[in-house]
């Protein structure tokens, strides 16, 4: 069965500091991986996705993520965070055929200190 683990429930960083949010997955085949961001009271917005090819993927808002098959990880990074990055971040895994159901991690809440 597919599963996603985000070990950090809550992370606080200072504005301008670098950020890394961890994501580990369990999936029986080639995983299709996603990072979504959810601002308070809002739906989810796709930051980036990985299907194949280059294991370092670039997303919107200056985010990037690296797929490491040997570690079953897909960590999200940003070199310098902005106060507007404060939100909930969800890692997800899915198949691209059939139902295309997304399986989400528990989420990591990011707080930015001024």
């Amino acid at each position: 069965a597919q599963s996603v683990t985000q070990p950090d429930i809550h992370i606080t960083v200072s504005e301008g500091a670098s950020l890394e949010l961890r994501c580990n997955y369990s999936y029986g085949a080639t995983p299709y991986l996603f990072w979504y961001v959810q601002s308070p009271g809002q739906g989810l917005q796709l930051l980036l996705k990985y299907f194949s090819g280059d294991t370092l993927v670039q997303g919107i808002k200056g985010f990037e993520a690296e797929f490491k098959r040997s570690q079953s990880s897909f960590n999200l990074r940003k070199p310098s965070v902005h106060w507007s990055d404060a939100a909930e971040y969800f890692c997800a895994v899915a198949s691209l055929q059939g139902a295309q159901k997304l399986v989400f991690g528990q989420g990591t809440r990011l707080t930015i200190n001024p």
Partner: protein, 112 residues
């Protein structure tokens, strides 16, 4: 810009009432989904649809029901709301050969 809409955004309702949460998308997407999200928790799939007249139960058991009579519309109904149904409900859609799920802004339901 994603065009998927959920109404109402917020709903407080008494126990035993029947409610319908609306979800509409104007993108012509075939696949639609309902996810349930408790505060501080991950999203769990409760229903999905491949297209008109197709509905399937998701991974999390739910007492709600859905229908898909039109491509753009995927309403979720609770026949008799209970406090345990208090949660946020998110609707999403994907086009047939697509890869990205577009999400609505969610309906936050409180049953008192």
């Amino acid at each position: 810009e994603a065009d998927i809409y959920q109404t109402p955004r917020y709903l407080v309702i008494g126990t035993g009432k029947k409610i319908t949460l609306e979800c509409s998308q104007t993108m012509g997407h075939d696949k639609m989904y309902w996810y349930q999200q408790d505060p501080g928790m991950e999203l769990h799939l409760i229903h999905y649809s491949y297209g008109v007249n197709s509905t399937e139960k998701g991974d999390l058991s739910s007492e709600s029901t859905v229908s898909r009579i039109r491509t753009e519309h995927f309403p979720l109904t609770l026949e008799s709301a209970r406090p345990s149904h208090t949660s946020q409900y998110l609707c999403a859609s994907i086009r047939l050969e697509g890869t990205e799920a577009f999400f609505g802004q969610g309906t936050r339901l409180t049953v008192v």
